[in-house]
Structure formats: C-alpha cells, structure tokens
Amino acid sequence: MTVNLTLLTVMGALYACGIYLILERSLTRVLLGLMLLANATNLLILATGGYAGLAPFFSKDTDPGSYNDPLPQALILTSIVISFAVTAFMLGIIYRTWLLARQDDIQDDIEDRRVAETPSFDAEDDAVIPVETSEFPLPMLGSDGSAAAESTATVEAGGRTLLAEHAALEEKPGSANFTTDTDTDTDTEGGAK
C-alpha cells in the first residue's frame, strides 16, 4: 500500500490548526476549528485511496486499479454535506447565543463550580435530630400535631442553628443550606411560628 505524504502533511497541519481553534473560548473560532477538522478528516479518507488516478467513470477498457478509489470518494461526499448541515446548525447556535446573552464565548458552568464547593454537611445525613421514643407522640387525639412538643428544640448543624423540625424537613441538601440568606429566612420563619 502506498502513502501520500503530501496529503497527510496537509492533513496534519489542518488537524493541528483545528485543534488549536476548538480549544478557544470564542464560539466562532470553535466552529471554524470544527470545519478545519472536517476538512482534515476528508483528506485522511482521500489519502486512503492511494495514488491519484482517473476519475471514476466506468469504461470497459480501463483496469479497475487505475481509477482513483471510488469508495473513499463516496464516503467523503457524504461527509461534506453532513459537515455543511452541522455547520449551519452551529451557526444557528452562535446566533442564538449572541441574541440571548450578547456573547460569543463559551462560559464556564457555574453549577459545576458550586458543586465543587459543596460543604459536606447534608441535613439528610448529618443534622442532629431529637431522639424519638414513640410513633404516637402526645397529644394522641390529633395525630397531626406530630412534633408539637419538639418545636422549640434547636439543633446545631453545619455551623448554624435551626429548628429541629426544619432540619428534619430540609429536603434539598446542597442548594437549600448553601447561602446564609436562606438560613436567616428559615430562622425568622421559625421564630414567627
């Protein structure tokens, strides 16, 4: 099998430029990088066809080997048109990002950073809860007033104090107890009750 180094060198250069571009923050550059990568890949497929040859139009007298390989050509043809569709789609995304956020940049995901800073305290796991010594707390008549006796009990949880009830009811671990604002809210609410 023969290897065309010209094609491959050009391919390598395109890959290098494409990778450099997609590692950029600007969405436009990323898209241009992707286009370069698509072109590079087309060249790679083309190179698998071996020597340049006759255009693949059948004539009875031609030896099949002297055509340029038609199979990679068919694959590339498909690839060209698909790249076009993908590019158009990306253009739509870029325009829309610009329209909505007025920026052409890839933003960092704040949520991921927030997760990284999540405190290990989790009310569901770590809140101190009062010992329960009955499934049928007094007064028995109205079983709806379940924790009435405990309402003044407070627990220390993650450096803040909150009502035991609230610790028990706190359902959303990360987001609810993350900021101090919600803390004070919960506390004043509890006090009002």
Binding site: T6, G18, E24, P70, F89, G92, Y95, S134
Partner: protein, 1038 residues
C-alpha cells in the same frame, strides 16, 4: 412452592386497591395469604420428612425433599429451583406463621387514615413472600435475588414514615450496610458456584467435602468468607450491628417481623445452610464464633443502657443473633439441633415482645422507661403475655427459651470438652454464660421498665386494649408455652437437619433411625436431669438477678466506662468521608470549563496512540512518497491550504477568519480535483460557497473583531496539544495505511456500478445504489439538522407565516434607521431614496419591497438572467449524475445556490416568492421519496433499495435508459434543497426580521412605530425636506 410465592406477590400487587376500599381491615385479607401458606406447609410435613419412618436409600439430603424447578435463563444455568428440606421447612414455619400474625396485628395497629397504608401492606406481604423464597431457594443466584428483594423491601418498610428524617435516615443506613454485605456475598456466591460448577445449593453441599479439601480450597475458603460477610451484615453482627437499633425507626410491626423473626434470621439461615459442608474451611469457626460472641456481649451490654423499651429489645436481638449464629455455625449435630431450636424460640418470644412494645406505644404514647409506670396495673393481660415472652428470653423453665437454651449450653459444654480447640472452647463457654447473664438482666430490665410502678413517676395514661389487638402476641406466647412443655415435635422437625452433621454418615447412611441420630445430637426436652447445663443455668439466673437488683450500681459503672468505640459514629464518619472524597474528585474533574474537558480528552486521544506507536516501534512502511507522480500540483494546493489554515488561526477579524477557512475549503476542492475526484470537487465548491453565505448571514450582527481570549500559558498548551495531535494523526495514518494488505473491495465497484447499478459514475452509483442505506441515513441527518437550525432561530414556528410580496409596501424592507442626516452617509441615503421614486422595471418579483438603499440593479438583472439557467443546470446535474459528474447532492446544492442568489438580490419576500413550498414540506417530500424508492421494490417482489433499469424511447430524446435509483437521488436532491432553504430562511430571512424589529425599538422617535404604514409615515415625514412626497412611497401599498 412456586405457587405460594406467586400468590404472595400477586396479592401484594393488588393490595393497594384492596386498601383503598376496605381500609385497615384489608390486613386481615393479606394475613390470609401467609396463613393459608402456613396450613399448606403443615400438610407438606409428610412429604418433607418422608411418610412414617424414612427408609429411602441414598443420602439424607435426598430423602424425599420436594423439589420444584422451572428453567429461567438456560444459557446462564439460571433456574427457579426450590427445595423444601427440614431446614427450609422449619424456617418457613417461622416466616409464614409470624408473618400471618404480624399482618393480623397490623390491622389494629394502624389507623384507616394513615397514609400510604396500601403500599405498606403490599410491601409487608411481598416481604413475607421474598423471605419464603429465600429459605426455599435451591439456587445460589435465586437465593441472592430474594436476599436483595428482602433488603429493598426492608428499606421501604423501615422508611414507612417518609416524612420523618429519622425513618429515612435509618432506612438508608440499613440499606447501605446490608447491600454492601450483599455485594460481597454475591461475589462469594459466584466464586463458590464457579468452583463447584453448579449453582444448585443441594448439589454444592453434596460435593462440599471435595471442594473444601480439593484444589480450589483457597477459592472456596475465600468465597465462604465473603458469603459470611453478607450474613454478618444482614444479621447485624459486630461490627455491623448498629443498623438494627437504628432501624427501630420502623413501625413496630415491621420491627417485630423483620428485625426479630424474619429478615435478620436470613444471615443465620445462610450460616445454617452452609454449615453442613463448610465448617471446616479455614476462617469459618474464628469468624462465626468470634463475631458471634462479640455481638452477644456487646448487644447485651448495650441493652442494659437503653431507656427506650424498643431499643432494649433491639440490642437484645443483636445479642441473641450473635448467640444463635455461634451455635448454628458450630457444625456439630447437637449444636445444629440446639441452634434451630433457639432460632424458633427466639422468633416466638422476640416477636411477642416487639408486638407488646407496639401496643404499649400505641396506647400510652411513649416507650421511655422513665415515663412508663404502672402499665401492668392498667392491663394485666398484656403484662402476662409480655412476661411469658421475657421469661422465655431469659430462659426460665417450662418455656421454649429454656428448652432451647439448655440444649445450647449442652452443645457448648461438649464443644469445650472436645479435644482440638485448646482453651478456646472454655473461653467460648464462659462468654456464652456471661452473655446469658446479660440476657437475664436485660429481660428483667425490660419487664421492670415497661410494666413496673416506679416511685416518683406518675402513672402513665393507658387506653384499654381491644382483644383483637392483643390476639397476635397472645397466640405467640401460647406457642412459647406449648413449645416449652412439649418440645418433641420441634425435636422431630430438626433431627433430619442435625443428622447432616454426623460425620461419615452423610453419603452412606440412608436410614437415619432415631437411635443413631439422637446419639449424636441428643434431644430437646424439658427435663434432662441434673446436668452441668442445668448448673450453668442456675448460675446465670443468680448472676442475672443480682445484676438486676444492683441495677443502679451497674448503671453507674456503665456510665463511668467511656464508650470507646461507637460503630454508628464510625458508619457516619465513613459515609461522610466518602461524600468528601466524591465532592473532591468531582470538583477536580468536573470544573465546568469546556476547555479543560477538551484538553483532557484530546490529550488522551494523542497520548495513547502515540505511546502505542512508540511502544510497537515499527519501521515506517514502504511506499511512502511525497510527490504524487500523477498529480504533482498537489504540492501547490497543499501549500495554499496550509497557509489558509494558519491565517485562519491568526486572523483577528471575524470575517477574515471565515474567509481563510473558506480558502482552505476551496483548496481542498482543488485537491479533490487533482486526486481524480470531480464529484467531490464540485460538491465541495458548492458547499463552500453556501457556507460562506451562511456565515455572513448569521454573523452580521456579531462584532467584527475576534479576540483570542485564552491567552498566556493556555495558548502554549493549546499549541502543544494541536501539534501533537496533528503529528499523531499523521503517524497513525501512515502506519494504518502501511498495514493494509487486503485488496480494496472497491476494485469490484466499477463492474458492480455498471452492471448492477446501470451507471457510469461509480461514485454516484455507490451513493444511490451500492451504499444506499448509508445515504438514506445521511439525508435523515440532514433533515434533522435543518429542523434544528430552524428551531434555533424561529423558536415559535417554522417561518411559514411570511406574507406574500404583493401584500408588502414598496421599499419597506431593510430600511436604514438612525443615520445622521447631516453626515455623508445621510446624504448618500437621501440620494438613493430620491432615485427610488422613479418607476423601475420589476426585474424580480419582490424586488420593489426592498428599501431603495438595499437594492442593486446589477445584482437584480444578473439574478434574473442566471436563476433559471441555474435551476435547469441543477436538474441536469441530478439526472446526468448517474453517468457524469453530478448527482442529487451536487444538483440540490446548485439549486440551493440559485435560491441564495434570489434571496440576496431581492430579500426575504423574493425568497418566499421563489419557493412557495415551505422548507419543512420539502424535507418531508424528499425523505418520503427516498423512502418510497427503497420500499417500492419490496412490494414488487424485490429487495429494499433494489434498482431496476428501464429502457424506453421518447420523441426528441431518443432511447432513454432510466435507472430507478434516480428516484432515490431525486429524494436526496429535494432534501438538500430543503436544507439550503431552511438555512436561508432561518439565518437569512428570520434574522433580517430580528434586525428590523430591533432598531425600531431602539430609536427614540420610532419607539412606538410598528411595522408597515405607521413606520413609513414616520420615515416619509422625515424625508419631506429632501423633496420626496410621502404619497409616492406609499403608492405600492396594496
């Protein structure tokens, strides 16, 4: 057995509906299921134990035990295999009997208005079924499935009070601990099954001696240890005992069933099931006896410290489980007999006591012994029932507990006196006696705490108990008495199991006649005479009573000793540490920066192949050449491409960068042409042009400069990654191509194309015939992408709402706003608008709608001239593509280019006039055409996408050779036109509209103006000084 299981699960499935109708009394209906199964079980007695004296020839393991098997996944050797032998039968008695009674009890424990009652009942019943399946399963994996079922159901049952944090947390804790053990067990089970070559438990036990001493002895020992880990977690032995007291957050009936009679016995059951074969493995005795004894002592010690009567029972259960595990795992006939006897006795009395606790809690609203006082005076019946249970727990004569405990002590006495265990036998015996003392003491503490009148505590208010509520514990305590007075039936039930342990007799002795078995195992009896065991019992009673009377002293001593290790705290720390590690790892890897992710991915993508290439250290293949002899111009084209790419990287203006990438694209087209691929060159040229237009259309609102915002060291990293990746690709490609040895399949293609596909253009025939499926997939992707573009831009609907050009006022589209009239621009604008007043031939249909300053006469004329030719040419490309360069793709793109021209020259209304069919419809028609052309041959008796050649004669054209795959190509053509149209409509027309809406809102004086006449009015009045009469611009309003 399978029927019993099926009934349990089926009734559980419909239970919620029953509850909706009948409320809590539905529990009675549910109880009927295990109760009925219990009766069925009693009838099975004869089958299990053989009718009369067992005389069957063969090993005891095979004597008549009923077996049911249904293949499930034969490929994996997995089958529903169930086997009812003595052990399974005894366990089933406990599971079904207590299950039925607990369900009966539930009917009075819960209230009709309690929420989720239906689900709860269903889970409890399903649990009984799963437990029954667990003890009767004869397949290791089957058993494991039931094992995990009980785990999951216990999670749901413990967490019944889902609004209480304590319930949720302890449910999760129990789940985590038992699942962790379950996973270890699964590994063990698979190892055991793989070593034995079968997963059938009875078969494995038969070949156990061979396994234990055979070549796989190490694996088997490890497997047994892993299985024991599972048993230890399930049965709450040290160091995993903490989950059981935690699980007391469950409703009390659940505790009575799961945590006394059934689920926690599953671990004991596993030990009992494996004991006949595997007690001789290396770690069995140390593990079973060591952990068992530690558990017994820790549980008893902690039970004395509790003030919640339910927790006293919970720690008591922990203690007893350790005790039972020790006996059952001892591996001697007498111990086996004693172990199962103890297991039954424990199930009876502990379930009784839990149910009693539930009643106390239900009627008085507390379980705290510091608040309870005088309960016995309120309900003597309850006190008596509880007293029987507690006495049995303490081992007081005439009760089941005494009978069992006597034989246990007997077994340990034998063990202590047996040679070969050194001082350990005596240590164990002493530990067991100490544990029994603790048991006596906490039993007394329980009774005192729950029922006694305490000085200084006011009498607990206690509602009267309905007899139906007390029925279940009363029935259990009656059974405890019967068991104590008449232990013979229990003895007979267990003897066949104990017989399995008589060494040397397993395989040969078939007639397990009472004499020889009893000789080894002894009998359960109320009165054995004055034996050493009785002496130990007496010591136990004395010491236990002393501990109870000196409870203040004991209490003080216990308070003085610091709890040196709290397993529950250890669990929390472990889980907390896991959380921290997880957050740490997530924080380090998931940084939210796309750049970071891509850099990691791409680095891996070049490091791995590069390392492989270097490691393989292969020489470069032969046949490398730099200049293709057939096409030396490639060097020039290549240089152009590389320069274009580098310029694109360096460009700091947006459109410059886009142009440079286009240069690369056109260079590639040239490369294709030079390589001998005219189709590719043609398509690439067309695509590049359309992309360029699309870019300009989409990016006209973005700022012109394109700054490189990732600077500094990141740029160096990017350069390195880029270069390394490119180099890797080059070398990988070289080696990959150099490694090719087979003849390319495409050498057949020319012949195939001509004879099969009836076309000369091999590439085109490949697309529409040889690889038609591939192309069909591709046009589907195109349709998807087109729809995606449209939905990104339009958001609300797909732009079919454009008015026709005749409804639009002249010169209203794309007017420039906010230009300073005194500026040069303003003057030019005024001039163009002045000329616009002159009547002009409509070169384009909608040309007049465009604002005068947007129009270009040359462009309009050229478009007018070229458009039709381009459409004709595109059709030519489509039809000729089978034999000459072209095809559906190229043709479609050419037509798209013609439409682009119309749009650019005449604006969005021109585009609308040019294509009365919407883009979505076009895409649909194209896909449908392609699909039909694929499906039609099937209807005609061919294959999908089979093509036929039809030759006919037409006037003018002469002989025509029509290949049906052209229809498919037409579909492709239409889809591509649809795609381009969608792009134009979205990125072009719709963005135009966004533009025109926005300046109106930004301009102060035009703020209120709407599109149409009002806007024109403003514009016109503004232009009056320029001399253009308002009427003339409004003339076009239809």
């Amino acid at each position: 057995m399978i029927t019993v299981l099926a009934v349990h699960f089926a009734v559980a499935a419909v239970a919620p509906f029953v509850f909706r109708k009948f409320g809590r009394n539905s529990f009675y209906a549910l109880a009927a299921v295990p109760a009925g199964s219990f009766v069925w079980l009693l009838f099975q007695h004869a089958a299990v134990y053989g009718a009369g004296a067992p005389v069957a020839i063969g090993s005891p393991a095979e004597t008549g035990a009923p077996v049911e098997t249904v293949p499930w996944i034969p490929g994996l050797g997995l089958e529903f295999a169930f086997r009812m032998d003595a052990l399974a039968w005894v366990m089933s008695l406990l599971v079904l009997g207590v299950g039925a009674l607990v369900l009966v009890y539930c009917a009075r424990y819960f209230k009709d208005k309690d929420s989720y009652l239906g689900g709860f009942g269903a889970q409890l019943l399903a649990f009984a079924g799963a437990m029954f399946g667990l003890v009767t399963a004869d397949d290791l994996l089957m058993m494991f499935i039931f094992w995990e079922l009980t785990t999951v159901l216990s999670y749901l049952l413990i967490g019944y009070a889902r609004t209480r944090l304590a319930a949720r947390r302890s449910a999760l804790q129990a789940l985590m601990v038992t699942t962790a053990g379950g996973l270890a067990m699964l590994v063990g089970l698979i190892m055991l099954g793989a070593s034995a070559g079968t997963y059938r438990i009875s078969a494995i036990l038969e070949q156990a001696p061979g396994l234990v001493s055979g070549p796989a002895a190490g694996a088997v020992a490890a497997a047994v240890v892993l299985i024991l880990v599972g048993a230890v977690t399930k049965s709450a032995l040290v160091p995993f005992h903490f989950w059981l007291p935690g699980a007391m957050a469950a409703p009390t009936p659940v505790s009575a069933y799961l945590h006394a009679a059934a689920m926690v016995k599953a671990g004991v059951y596993i030990v009992a099931r494996l004991a006949p074969g595997f007690t001789d493995t290396a770690y069995w005795l140390p593990m079973v006896l060591g952990l068992g004894l530690a558990t017994m002592l820790v549980g008893g010690y902690r039970a004395l410290r509790q003030t919640d009567i339910k927790l006293i029972l919970a720690y008591g259960t922990v203690s007893q489980l350790g005790f039972i595990t020790m006996v059952v795992g001892l591996g001697k006939p007498d111990a086996a007999l004693a172990g199962l006897a103890m297991l039954l006795a424990h199930g009876l009395f502990k379930a009784t006591l839990f149910l009693v606790v539930g009643i106390i809690d239900h009627q008085s609203g507390t379980r705290d012994i510091r608040k309870l006082s005088g309960v016995f005076r309120s309900s003597r019946a309850l006190g008596i029932v509880a007293g029987i249970g507690a006495a049995s727990m303490a081992g007081i004569p005439l009760l089941g507990g005494f009978v069992a405990k006597e034989s246990v002590l007997e077994a340990f006495l034998h063990f202590a006196s047996a040679p070969g265990y050194g001082p350990w036998g005596a240590v164990i015996l002493a530990g067991v006696v100490l544990g029994s003392v603790l048991t006596f003491a906490y039993s007394a503490r329980f009774m005192w705490g729950a029922f006694a009148v305490k000085p200084g505590v006011e009498r607990t208010p206690f509602k009267a108990i309905r007899p139906s509520f007390l029925a279940a514990p009363a029935a259990l305590s009656v059974l405890t008495i019967v068991y104590g007075l008449w232990p013979a039936p229990v003895d007979a039930w267990i003897q066949p199991y104990a017989a399995l342990f008589i060494e040397g007799t397993q395989l040969t002795e078939g007639t397990s006649d009472a004499g020889s078995t009893a000789g080894a195992a002894g009998h359960l009896a109320l009165w054995h005479g004055l034996t050493p065991a009785l002496g130990l019992t007496a010591i136990t009673f004395a010491a236990g009573a002393a501990m109870f009377y000196g409870r203040r002293l004991v209490d003080r001593i216990q308070s003085a000793i610091p709890p040196w290790f709290d397993a529950d705290r250890g669990y929390q720390l472990t889980i907390g540490a896991l959380d921290d590690v997880a957050v740490w790892i997530t924080g380090r890897t998931q940084r939210g920066s796309l750049y970071f992710y891509l850099a990691v991915i791409l680095s891996v993508a070049f490091v791995l192949p590069m390392a492989a290439l270097i490691a393989a250290n292969k020489p470069l293949p032969e046949g490398l050449y730099f200049v293709d002899p057939n096409s030396p111009l490639q060097l020039v084209a290549g240089a152009g491409i590389v320069i274009g790419a580098l310029a694109a990287v360096r460009a700091n203006k947006r459109f410059l960068a886009v142009l440079m990438v286009s240069v690369t694209g056109y260079g590639i087209a040239l490369m294709f042409a030079l390589q001998g691929a005219p189709d590719l060159a043609l398509t690439q040229m067309l695509v590049e042009t359309i992309i360029l237009v699309a870019f300009v259309l989409a990016m006209r609102s973005l700022p012109a400069e394109l700054r490189d915002r990732t600077g500094g060291k990141y740029r160096v990293v990017r350069v390195i990654i880029g270069l390394a990746f490119g180099a890797t690709m080059v070398f990988a490609a070289i080696h990959a191509m150099g490694a090719r040895i087979a003849t390319p399949v495409s050498l057949e293609f020319p012949q195939l194309a001509y004879e099969g596909g009836g076309g000369l253009n091999i590439v085109n025939v490949t697309l529409v015939d040889i690889r038609a499926w591939d192309t069909f997939g591709e046009i589907s992707v195109l349709a998807l992408a087109a729809t995606g573009v449209a939905s990104l831009i339009f958001v609300r609907g797909r732009g079919d709402r454009l008015r026709t050009a005749s409804a639009v006022a002249e010169g209203t589209v794309g007017r420039r706003h906010g230009v300073d009239k005194s500026s040069r621009d303003g003057a030019a604008l005024a001039l163009t608008r002045k000329f616009a007043a002159a009547a002009r031939d409509p070169w384009l249909v909608a040309g007049r709608t465009l604002a005068p300053e947007r129009r270009s006469i040359i462009f309009e004329v050229v478009t007018r001239l070229v458009f039709h030719s381009m459409i004709i040419f595109s059709l030519y490309l489509l039809l000729a593509g089978h034999n000459l360069p072209g095809g559906g793709f190229a043709g479609g793109l050419m037509a798209g280019l013609a439409l682009t021209l119309r749009y650019l020259a005449g604006g969005r209304f021109e585009l609308h006039e040019a294509t009365p069919i919407s883009a979505g419809t076009l895409l649909g028609i194209g896909l449908a055409t392609a699909a039909l052309s694929g499906a039609a041959p099937v209807l005609l008796g061919g294959q999908v996408f089979q093509s036929a050649i039809i030759e006919f004669w037409l006037p003018v054209f002469g002989d025509i050779k029509f290949v049906t795959s052209t229809i498919f190509d037409t579909g492709v053509y239409i889809v591509v036109v649809g795609l381009v149209l969608d792009v134009l409509r979205s990125l072009g027309a719709e963005i135009d509209e966004h533009f025109e809406e926005r300046p109106l809102q930004l301009d102060g004086q035009d703020g209120a103006a709407q599109e149409g006449a009002a806007g024109i009015q403003d514009e016109a009045s503004e232009e009056v000084p320029g001399g253009v009469p308002a009427e003339s611009t409004r003339g076009g309003t239809a």
